[in-house]
Symmetry: C2
Subunit: 236 residues, 2 copies
DNA sequence: ATGGCAATAAATGTGCACATTATTCGCCGA
DNA sequence: TCGGCGAATAATGTGCACATTTATTGCCAT
């Protein structure tokens, strides 16, 4: 029962999750631009399910702050202000500083090996000129840092932050998604390997500053999206 | 419109929020013990609203991880494992390390003054022997640290963590809620004042270790709760 | 023209009835 | 007596119809 949703006649236990994932990905990929209104009836028709099901998913997305819901006025993809963007990046920076402190305490060869392996991948993608892979791996570096702690709470928080910042990137940096310089990543790992936590933190700070500086200050207008075309039976 | 919900006949725009707050507080205050089943019909009768309204609130609470929802099997107050508890405390510790790093950068007299004022309050409550105030102020210290950064994302994350740990305290430390030693709080502020961030972080680490060590390792069984008595018309 | 205003359309919110799934209880046989 | 099995009960899940609110359109008077 992989994708046989053709009509989705009655009850599919995992349908909610599929719709949730579908909308989430559309937002994170930038296919759903900031400000896009998410009309329940339209989404229901696009996914071929009842409106109640869509409502439930939208409210979940709202509780997770992935979309904005105004009572009686519907749901939309958030249009973050520059100040909110700054706050998300700052939060990531502050979190990573704490993560580096903790990593300095519990660092071992296995963790270092995994980080090294990631850097190899990242450099390889850059060498190949594979921009898509570079973007993905560049973000994954920070995920790896947090995941190395093995703390579900922290990993989840970072994922939330990243999902928010992805929307922001689509608003303020439409053409080229930001790619962290792999050298900066490597330098952070080297500082960790030397157990020089203050230096690692300092590198991380400058690293984030670079990323932030790359953002434009004026938002780019988003063209209206066709929900049916995005989520219709042909697509996913 | 304070508490005139006597019957709550038709539609109250803020009813959802009131119910949400009511359940949230009951969990955080420990009146709803870990493992308690939250039956929709029962809650609906207790609050005097329809079951749909309760469902919506429960799903919101579930999305925020304040309760556990298993499909087709209902909702309950989480019963965290020792491992999950450890993760929450560790997350708080890691976050606070990052916060201290950032505070070391943006510290000013106003922030220091606010922290000093809080320490005065805290010492005062301890001197009075006001245990309730001590518990509250002791937790508030850490909230103040994060709030000093003025970052909504970080403040929200800490609030989430604290709301989770409150449940844990009720499971693993029933009688005496943990009170941070005010001396330890004061020492952290002093380290900050001296711009000695590594020392502040170290103090924070040991501080959390003390708190964690105070937790019992074996959970305390929770008596079943009467939802109608807790949320009935007489109460809130 | 234009600004306000009313009628219409569209979208969201809600209660209810019924379906589906879990749990409990009682029965029967070994 | 105990273990399994099935009916009865209880709780959750879902679609639908209708209410309420908001947005849009068209009209009229100035």
């Amino acid at each position: 029962m992989s994708e046989a949703r053709q009509r989705a006649a009655k009850a599919d236990p995992a349908a909610d999750e599929a719709i949730y994932q579908s909308i989430t990905r559309a937002i994170m990929d930038g296919r759903l631009r900031a400000g896009t209104k998410l009309v329940e009836q339209t989404l229901a028709e696009a996914f071929g399910v009842s409106r109640e099901r869509i409502r439930k998913v939208l409210h979940r997305l709202g509780a997770e702050r992935r979309i904005e819901i105004v009572p009686n006025r519907g749901s939309r993809v958030p249009s973050p202000t520059p100040e909110e963007i700054r706050a998300v990046y700052e939060a990531h920076r502050v979190l990573e500083a704490g993560v580096l402190v903790q990593l300095g305490q519990m660092l071992n060869d296995e963790i270092l090996a995994r980080l090294d392996a990631h850097l190899v991948e990242e450099r390889d993608a850059a060498a190949r000129g594979d921009r898509a892979a570079s973007v993905r791996l560049s973000g994954a570096f920070h995920t790896h840092l947090v995941d190395a702690l093995g703390n579900e709470e922290l990993s989840r928080f970072l994922r939330d932050l990243l999902s928010r910042s992805s929307v922001m990137v689509s608003v303020y940096e439409p053409a080229t998604q930001s790619v962290c310089a792999v050298d900066e990543h490597g330098a952070i790992v080297e500082a960790l390997r030397a157990r020089d936590v203050p230096r690692a933190i300092d590198l991380s700070r400058h690293h984030f500053r670079h990323v932030e500086q790359r953002l434009r200050l004026d938002p780019v207008p988003a063209p209206p999206a066709d929900l049916r075309a995005l989520f219709g039976p042909a697509q996913g």
